[in-house]
């Protein structure tokens, strides 16, 4: 069917787009970190290092070469997975990321589950019961949801739960791969804290786009031709209304990854976010650089995935080629 050819073509186009964006992102992050104040040799060797030691290390690390040379070296190493070594611990950055990734991932996935699990049904409900009491309540709740800072929500949750110590852990995180129940409980509070804003966003967006769809001509036509109401709602309206929300959800993965920096700090979760913050205060540039590059790559990949999903669901995109 020509449909799958169109889809492949579209995916190909997206990949082509991704390459310059990733290159640009890596370059931007490299420049930023490079311009940050602090002498790498000094940071590694500490305050007691002598001038000769510093000079020798600088030579070894090629710190005297021009920026683009250093950048190229970094990029070619990164392409094969070598993100350098931490200035402070000498550990391989790639390893450090891999060690901590499961925790951040668990947090992100947990938040996504919370957001979709609450946001989707509520958004649908609100659009079906427009302007009734339930709708008003959900709209106000959603408004509050996007107005609460996630770290404060986390703190408030800790405050509430701390009164009844022991029910749910308020610090640290167990991976579900080690212990399902403990993992679930330890992720509960942080996931709610991080996921609330996303839940609210989904509720609002879904309600809006579903209401938009309901007012469109084809709904009236389907009605005029006797198609059953539930069929119109769930097959026609929901599918079309979900599309813009899907794109937004994909974009918000970035929010989840960024928000993890704060939430991991609040809840003491040993994830990538906390590692990054640590690195900032300790001027551990390779770590910062590595994380930023990693996150950007993941983000771009997710974007391509989401766009492909969108094109799969909406034939106008893969055939017409409207760019965002």
């Amino acid at each position: 069917m020509s449909d799958s050819n169109d889809l492949l073509f579209y995916v190909g186009k997206r990949f082509l787009w991704a390459v310059p964006v990733l290159l640009g992102a890596s370059f931007l992050s490299y420049i930023l970190i490079h311009l940050a104040p602090g002498d790498p040799a000094q940071i590694i060797l500490g305050r007691r290092a002598t001038q000769e030691q510093l000079a020798q290390l600088r030579q070894e690390m090629a710190l005297n070469k021009p920026v683009y040379v250093q950048y190229w070296r970094y990029l070619s190493d990164a392409a094969v997975g070598d993100l350098g070594r931490s200035y402070r611990s000498q550990q391989k950055v790639a390893t450090m990321i891999a060690q901590r990734l499961p925790y951040t991932l668990q947090l992100a996935v947990g938040s996504l589950i919370v957001a979709l699990g609450i946001g989707l049904p509520t958004g649908i409900y609100a659009s079906l019961n427009r302007n009734e009491f339930g709708d008003h309540v959900s709209r106000i709740v959603a408004l509050l949801g996007i107005s609460i800072p996630n770290f404060w929500l986390g703190l408030m949750l800790i405050l509430l739960i701390a009164v009844h110590v022991g029910v749910v852990p308020i610090y640290g995180m167990t991976l579900v791969t080690e212990n399902v129940l403990a993992g679930f409980l330890s992720t509960l509070l942080p996931a709610v804290a991080l996921g609330t804003a996303l839940t609210a966003l989904i509720m609002r967006m879904l309600r809006g786009s579903l209401l938009d769809e309901i007012n469109k001509g084809y709904v009236q036509t389907a009605n005029a031709y006797g198609i059953a109401e539930h069929e119109i709602m769930y097959v026609y309206v929901l599918k079309n209304g979900l599309l813009p929300t899907i794109t937004v959800i994909g974009l918000q993965l970035g929010y989840l990854l960024g928000g993890s920096v704060v939430i991991e700090t609040v809840f003491g979760i040993p994830g990538i976010g906390q590692m990054t913050l640590d690195a900032i205060f300790k001027q551990d540039f390779p770590v910062i650089q590595g994380v930023v590059l990693f996150v950007a790559t993941v983000f771009v990949a997710v974007n391509i995935l989401v766009d492909t999903l969108y094109a799969f669901l909406d034939p106008r995109i893969r055939l017409g080629g409207e760019s965002t």
């Binding site: 800072p149 786009s209 937004v248 930023v292």
Partner: protein, 316 residues
Amino acid sequence: MSTVTESTDPDSDRDAHTERDYSTARERVLSQVRQSPLAMIGASIAVFLLLLTVVTLVDRHLLNRTLITTLLHDPYATHPENRLQAPTLVHPFGTDEQGRDILVRVIYGAKTSVIVGVLSVTFASIVGVAIGSVSAYYGRIVDMAGMRLMDVLLSFPAILLAIALMATLGRGLENIILALGVVYVPTFARVTRSEMLSQKEQEYADAARVVGYPDRNIILKELLPNCLTPIIVQATFSIALAIIAEAALSFLGLGVSPPTPTWGMMLSKGKPYITDAWWYMLFPGLAIMVTVLGFNLLGDSLRDALDPQEQGEGRI
């Protein structure tokens, strides 16, 4: 579902006016805002905070804090003997670990949040609108280049990008404003580009070109004024986001340096005492939430009044 009436000429809704009718748009907004109680609340909160910012700025820099000290307490004076007191009539929000009154520190904290919010969004909107307009108007390569650049910025999560920028720029108020400004540029670029692309197709744009108007004038005087509504709505929402972002940065320790109290910093300072001093956690956070809520309410009502087609909400 049915139209109200067919009495209007089918073409009149699609008329391209040279300029949107400003007086009626303003009137429409004002009347809508006046009618909706939520909108009134949002507008009042925003206005109140702006006033508070101005007053506290004057008090801090010109009056050397005399106003607030006389009315309530001195936000900087430490009284170790009063540390961590629960809320009382004298200290309605309690005191912190150095015995300072939390209410006045919350009041003083407002100005940082508002200034960062408003200024960073101002920066982001000017730069973003410029990039978006140029991309939309000249199209093709310029558009591709502009939007790829925006995509590069967008490939970083907002907080992460802000943190990276601040690592380079260092701490301080101006740097926070610049960092957050850069983070929100792509949002404005996209909104402007999207709106301008559709305005560009309207006949009045062709008319302007036909009479030989220079490009710069067409963009600035003809197209841009008609793109303003979604930009204004977006700006309001972005201010709300920026305020949360500034609080997060302060909370992480990357904000403005002490002794200036900021809401995020107060939360971070208070975290060790979370179980002993619940008021330390509650009030600064509540202040952030109410402020952000105010701007979000305002944004919602502006959008309902001005922009029937709901646009995206920007990056969290």
